[in-house]
Symmetry: C2
Subunit: 310 residues, 2 copies
């Protein structure tokens, strides 16, 4: 049983109540607790030594990553992050300076985005460090962008460039919070997700609720310099396109807008976020399945990105 | 460096913002996010295989405990729990039935208290199971009971009986949510905490903010049947009073009320919660330090309860 199958099993028949707008199945849980005109966003994410980082990474980068992943999920719903609780599970012989480094990286990113760190706990995990962060945010009810909602014909966009994140980007990415809020304010995307498992997987997560598919233009997929360099320099590296589609941990925004807004969006984005590439990579189709088009015709999309829990 | 020293170090200069009413230092973080007349309560708590449970315990009890500990913290502030996210970190060769058992125990307790389980994640922790739960609740602004606020002369109460929780109570305790809300509504305790580290420790957590102390009556400390039995049957067991003061994981309410309300409170409680003992164990003093009184005079309180992270 893999992670997806287990999650599907566990998320059947979860207890609910009338505060729940969206439980599982989107980037964050969405709650209506009576804040006038706003939903509460609620998310947890954990990183584990050996899977998401190794101990030879600077502790500041580890702490930053733990929070940045959660911030990326708030971004994917166009929210504003508010407050976080930090759980650090540590081996007994922990080095207090290492823990302080984790907090330093985390606090710096929190400060940058106006997030309060309101507590948490330290506990013991004898063999490895595990950091779990719980994050709250809010979003205007009429600007909350979900994974579902796209329509056939919508243009598909992705920010940044993809692939090769293991070389450092998985630590250093900037959660696209400002970009997402700008999008929600000016273009109201019909759907949005952050690319954490890889474009090949996450585009399916974006479309599967509405039983839709996509045609992507192979030449339009934005491949990172790192993925291209790796392919040149390492004989065992993935071809750059495959890396862009399946490496994961890109933490870019993948979203859809009505196609008539595509040009206006590209112009507005370039003006507002000149440092962040934005690519129109294809369109939503009414038939399920994702196809990749090049000059020779359609090719099947690799079926999986990075599958956690392997 | 022990857990307390590390936490003191880490909680200096945490990032904050104007939504924060109380960050660290109480049973939950308290946030004002604009819900009319109510605060948001935010808490995380993790349990780790080998520290808080072993794998020979029924998974239903493990899952129940993970949520119940968090509920007890919401109770300690007289709140109403709303929604939880569940993080389960598992060895790779996990048994899906075991995980389903964890969820079954957790879901049953959530349902009992009207809590929605709105998602979470599974991730890999190769050597042991770790469950971290993030819980939200709300509380009326004028009924939120803190750790600080007690005054010299206040009567000190504790619910239930204490000691010997390792024999089963640490799994089976009932979070005192209804009791705490009833208290806040009818008697507005001046301060409250849940007994998780042991009475000897937690009474200090209750009083230290206000630089106060306490005189406790030795004969009034409610000792559990389990602690008494253990002392009789096992030669290496703690004396029952010491067990009641230092075992921890009792998850009872420890609170203070103005002494003139003490009798009325005892009567009202007995009528409303006839199954749950309530004991008046002493009074708040203006001098820091906790003393234990018996017929021969004052004795010093054991200085420590159970210290996590040993």
């Amino acid at each position: 049983m893999n992670e997806l199958e287990l999650i599907q099993l566990l998320t059947k028949n979860l207890p609910t109540n009338n505060s729940v707008v969206t439980g599982t199945g989107d980037d964050c849980a969405v709650l209506d607790l009576g804040i006038p005109d706003r939903f509460l966003l609620f998310k947890t994410d954990a990183i584990v030594e050996g899977t998401h980082f190794t101990r030879d990474a600077a502790p500041e980068r580890i702490g930053r990553k733990a929070l940045a992943r959660n911030l990326s999920d708030i971004a994917a719903m166009a929210g504003q992050p508010t407050a976080a609780l930090v759980t650090i599970a540590l081996p007994r012989g922990f080095d207090p300076e290492f823990v302080q480094g984790i907090y330093a990286g985390l606090n710096a990113l929190a400060t940058q985005h106006g997030v309060a760190i309101v507590g948490g706990e330290t506990t013991t995990n004898p063999e490895r460090i595990l950091i779990s962060i719980a994050l709250l945010g809010t979003v205007a009810k009429d600007r909350c962008i979900r994974r579902h909602g796209s329509r056939p014909g919508d243009a598909i966009f992705v920010s940044g460039t993809l692939g090769g994140s293991i070389d450092g980007w998985h630590f250093d990415f900037e959660p696209r919070l400002a970009e997402a809020r700008w999008l929600a304010e000016h273009f109201t995307p019909t759907s949005m997700i952050d690319v954490s498992d890889g474009l090949a997987s996450d585009i399916r997560h974006l479309l599967e609720h509405d039983h839709l598919g996509a045609e992507l233009l192979k030449s339009a997929i934005p491949i990172s310099r790192t993925a291209k360099l790796k392919a040149k320099e390492e004989s065992s590296a993935k071809p750059p396109l495959l890396a862009a589609l399946t490496d994961g941990e890109d933490f870019e925004l993948l979203f859809t807008v009505p196609s008539k807004l595509a040009v206006k969006l590209l112009d507005g984005w370039k003006e507002t976020f000149p440092q962040v590439p934005l690519a129109c990579i294809g369109k939503v189709t009414d038939k399920p399945g994702v196809k990749l088009r090049d000059k020779d015709g359609y090719k099947p999309m690799p079926t999986h990105g990075y599958v956690h829990f392997a």
